[in-house]
């Protein structure tokens, strides 16, 4: 039987530091790991509890996201009985254009309608910036065993693993070592880079009634429905909050560097297996494709490829997405090459991220650093002399 959970995905996420990759797409539809998008990870988690519907709140138009999700059938979200993907886009635009009260009204109403009309017992809040693979069935078990009002997922990481000016928060646990959460605080309040964080993974579960109570409170106070605000409301109401520790692979995707690092992490077998083979199978939109062809002269050293590529050159420590061609004599190292890129002969790329459909002309050379990889935006042309003609 299906567990009755109404998932709400807050995809109005800060992605400015990921420009230009997020110029035309929300963080949630950022390509990752040769054939995925970040949204695949929370969506695949939902498959472990057989959720049959989900509500999405998106800042912009969400075009790239909708193209990816379609009916939601890939993740079992298309059931004709009470299922479906309920989308709410242009949240940012509405906030700007409409008078504040009108906007605020819709924002809370949309949440209210989705949750109150569903036959769910529980509500789960999720985002897409915490790259991880979480067994929500284990979370649900924990939540029920603790008879908790609210359960928040966290992971123990070092302060240095997130940005100095990170927008995320760390949980404050009770001293009794009983998994009780006493609050959260912005990680920017913690300056010691060696300090342990209990990073709030912005995922929480609560009963439908509790959620509606907090929603009402958020509406009264005119604040967003975020995990930090909900932790605050539940503390004020003297509700019990528990923290559920996640011990699998986590990368907080908050800038180009962390995005690059997360991709490179996949070339380490332990990380790769932890993310893909220790919890839920990660599902993505199925694509029709031919196998990848490796030419007679190709040289591969520790790299991942999606289907439909044609590889004649040399590829080392890199992530190659679908439909990429790399010509003979070309050399790609420590790089991320997204779908539909074409790399001509004798090109040299190192520490480079090519967004989709970039054309690299014969003999061009680009070299960034691991700390600051060069990012080339979608549809650009890189000329032989190395100058970049930006895509539209």
């Amino acid at each position: 039987m299906r567990t009755k959970i109404a998932p709400i995905l807050n995809l109005v996420e800060n992605s400015e530091k990921l420009m230009p990759l997020t110029k035309r797409r929300p963080l949630a539809s950022l390509p990752f790991g040769c054939r995925y998008r970040l949204i695949d990870f929370p969506f695949s988690s939902l498959s472990s509890i057989e959720a049959s519907s989900a509500a999405l709140f998106i800042g912009g138009s969400g075009h790239s996201l909708y193209d990816h999700i379609r009916s939601g059938a890939t993740w079992g979200l298309e059931s004709s009985v009470g299922g479906g993907v309920f989308t709410h886009s242009h949240i940012n635009l509405k906030a700007e254009l409409e008078d504040n009260d009108g906007y605020i009204g819709n924002y809370y109403e949309d949440h209210y309608h989705y949750v109150s009309r569903s036959n769910a017992e529980y509500v789960i809040l999720m985002g897409s910036s915490m790259l991880s693979n979480i067994r929500l069935d284990s979370l649900l078990q924990f939540h029920e065993k603790k008879k908790s009002d609210v359960t928040v997922i966290y992971k123990k990481i070092k302060r240095s693993e997130v940005r100095e000016d990170s927008i995320y928060s760390s949980l404050i646990m009770s001293k009794n070592d009983d998994d009780c959460v006493e609050g959260s605080r912005p990680v920017t309040e913690i300056s010691d880079q060696d300090a342990d964080l209990l990073i709030n993974m912005e995922m929480m579960i609560m009963s439908k009634d509790k959620f509606l109570t907090y929603l009402f409170e958020a509406k009264n106070q005119h604040v967003d429905i975020t995990t930090d605000n909900l932790i605050k409301f539940s503390r004020e109401a003297d509700d019990e909050i528990y923290g559920f520790e996640y011990t699998g692979y986590l990368k907080v995707i908050e800038d180009i560097r962390s995005y690059y690092q997360a991709n490179m992490d996949m070339l380490n077998e332990d990380n790769f297996n932890a993310l893909f083979y220790r919890a839920n199978p990660v599902l993505t939109k199925p694509k029709n494709s031919a196998p990848t062809y490796y030419g007679k002269q190709s040289e591969i050293n520790n790299a991942q490829f999606a289907n439909d590529c044609e590889i004649y050159g040399s590829v080392k420590n890199s992530m190659i997405f679908r439909k990429v061609s790399i010509a003979e004599g070309a050399n790609v190292e420590d790089s991320i090459i997204m779908q539909d890129c074409c790399i001509e002969e004798d090109v040299h790329l190192k520490h480079v991220i090519l967004d989709k459909h970039v054309y690299v002309k014969k003999g061009a050379r680009l070299e960034g650093t691991a700390e600051e990889p060069i990012v080339v935006s979608k549809d650009s042309i890189i000329h032989a002399e190395g100058d970049i003609e930006e895509g539209e």
């Binding site: 790991g33 040769c34 054939r35 890939t74 077998e269 790769f272 893909f276 199978p281 990660v282 599902l283 993505t284 199925p286 694509k287 029709n288 494709s289 031919a290 196998p291 990848t292 062809y293 490796y294 030419g295 007679k296 002269q297 190709s298 040289e299 591969i300 050293n301 520790n302 790299a303 991942q304 490829f305 999606a306 289907n307 439909d308 044609e310 992530m319």
Partner: protein, 381 residues
């Protein structure tokens, strides 16, 4: 609802010359080319030719085949005005309806075809590797005002006696049919592709049944009956790659041909895609010890060894210091360390343990069956 054309893919055959590869699964479901099963070519041809109503007639070991085809969604055939339908033998008041031959299989499914009420029925086999636009053949059928059009291919004269050959007049009208003749009068081999005017074919099938004369097979019974009655039968010549992968050697060589980036089939042609029911797997992971040359590798593979002039289907694992050369490895096979495989077909889910050697020759391709274990003194055991 009126439909112009219904395609019937005859996918019930065993393909016994494929030995252990068709022991548990029907020939059309045998994996091919890394990311496909044989029937994908006929199904994709239907989809690309704009034929949205497809009956897939299955009988022999149909589980994997039925599961693969499903409702046809992978080929875009699950439309409001189109569908792929699995047709299996059933029993009724008139007794059991196991299919005795190609025409008999269509006779048993008259109700299915009539429900669509088509003008034309395209009869296809699910056994062949090719790309063909059936719409062009249908246009030809209409132009000639034929009641039956047979897809034919010129074959070398010395091979003609292995096929059913069509003897035609100057207008391409078929005047004689010879099944595997000793002295062929023509080198136009039947491809097992037929377009019939449905009302005419139905009449033949029903009338003969009523007279207790069964038209069991298209080649042996229906075409001779049409010829006797002077029906307008025309030959439609197909030029292009077409391969019957009915034996181990031909399945192997078709895969080796498929590897060539300049292969006539052009699997990367976006305007005529070959669709399949794609598994959701991780990207292909080639470790720092991996080597892959002149090879096709598919998503879900983990490669720590060497791959040379071979096709590795999805989710194959290849251990360190192992070599796969001139071979076709089917999905989910696990190949251990220090293994050497040459000129072989490795079945789906087979397990080749550490240190094993599997070496075939051009005339004798080695075959490891589905889920078969070879070797077995691995360190891990």
């Amino acid at each position: 609802m009126k439909t112009e054309t219904v395609a019937m893919i005859l996918a019930g055959g065993q393909g016994s010359r494929l030995g252990k590869l068709t022991k548990q699964i029907a020939k059309p479901a045998v994996p091919f080319g890394g990311n496909y099963r044989i029937i994908d070519f006929a199904l994709s041809n239907c989809a690309n030719s704009g034929i949205d109503n497809v009956g897939v007639v299955t009988q022999y070991q149909p589980l994997i085949l039925n599961n693969h085809v499903g409702n046809g969604a992978s080929w875009g055939l699950n439309r409001h005005n189109g569908e792929a339908t699995i047709l299996q033998p059933y029993s009724s008041m008139e007794g059991e309806k196991f299919f005795k031959g190609t025409a008999h299989a269509v006779y048993q499914n008259i109700d299915f075809i009539d429900r669509k009420d088509p003008e034309y029925v395209v009869i296809l086999s699910g056994d062949h590797i090719y790309k063909m636009d059936y719409q062009k053949m249908l246009d030809y059928h209409k132009e000639q005002e034929a009641t039956l059009t047979v897809g034919v291919m010129p074959v070398p004269w010395e091979d003609a006696s292995r096929f059913g050959v069509m003897n035609t007049d100057k207008t391409d009208r078929i005047i004689e049919f010879q099944e595997k003749p000793e002295n062929p009068k023509s080198n136009l081999a039947s491809m097992g592709i037929y377009i019939f005017d449905w009302p005419v074919l139905k009449k033949y099938l029903v009338d003969n049944q009523a007279k207790n004369r069964q038209l069991t097979d298209f080649g042996h019974h229906v075409i001779p009956a049409y010829l006797r009655n002077n029906e307008a039968i025309y030959a439609y010549s197909f030029e292009g790659y077409w391969k019957d992968v009915g034996t181990i050697e031909s399945l192997w060589s078709a895969n080796m041909e498929f590897l060539d980036p300049k292969h006539e089939l052009d699997i990367r042609d976006r305007s005529w895609r070959v669709y399949s029911n794609n598994p959701n797997t991780t990207p292909q992971f080639l470790t720092e010890r991996a080597k892959a040359t002149d090879s096709m590798i598919t998503d879900g593979c983990y490669i720590a060894g060497e791959v040379e002039h071979s096709i590795l289907s999805h989710s194959v694992k290849l251990g360190e210091n192992s070599l796969v050369k001139d071979s076709f490895v089917m999905p989910n096979a696990v190949i251990g360390k220090n293994v050497k495989i040459e000129k072989a077909i490795i079945g789906e889910g087979a397990h080749i343990h550490d240190g094993t050697e599997i070496i075939g020759t051009d005339d004798n391709i080695e075959v490891v069956g589905y889920d078969e274990e070879v070797g077995g003194y691995s360190d891990e055991n």
